[in-house]
Symmetry: C2
Subunit: 103 residues, 2 copies
């Protein structure tokens, strides 16, 4: 069984709007995305709200599969970024709308 040293990130062209909307519709994941929108780059641990690692790992996997988040391995940490430009190109205005909502 092989282990990962890099992540697979899908081409945004292969991501459907339904897929992206589903990924964004979970409160934990939306919270991650909101933080990444401000933080530029953050480790997984920096974004858990005291939640178990295995739960967070699941949510990051979903966000990556939906083309929303990029994860890069930096030593012992996995650093995450929003794929802003690519998502904006594929779904113009979507992140602006989603992230612009208050309360």
């Amino acid at each position: 069984m092989s282990w990962m040293r890099t992540y697979q990130h899908p081409d945004l062209a292969t991501v459907t709007i339904e897929h992206a909307l589903h990924a964004l519709s979970d409160p934990v994941r939306l919270d991650i995305v909101r933080q990444l929108d401000r933080e530029i780059e953050a480790s997984c641990a920096a974004l858990d709200g005291g939640r178990p690692k295995s739960s967070m790992s699941h949510h990051f996997r979903v966000l990556r599969a939906a083309g929303l988040v990029h994860t890069r391995i930096a030593g012992v940490q996995h650093m995450n970024t929003l794929r802003r430009e690519e998502v904006d190109k594929r779904f113009p205005g979507l992140l602006d709308a989603v992230l612009g909502v208050k309360g």
Copy 2:
């Protein structure tokens, strides 16, 4: 047990973005919303894609609960409209972004 003669439509202020995104993330419902965006008003039957009535009823209920669709009873038909202005006010740019995507 009482029966309905009118529908309950939530105040958009009580609808969260997560709720709206979830409602939009289902392909059947997104299809309904896309059609309503063009059709102005349509009966439930006009929007099923040959799907069972009970399935459609479920999806319309979800769309109403998310504040996206308004249903008015007109005789034997239930006419649906997109709550465009209200949704646009609550979630500016969201419907534009979601409906603007091709493929």
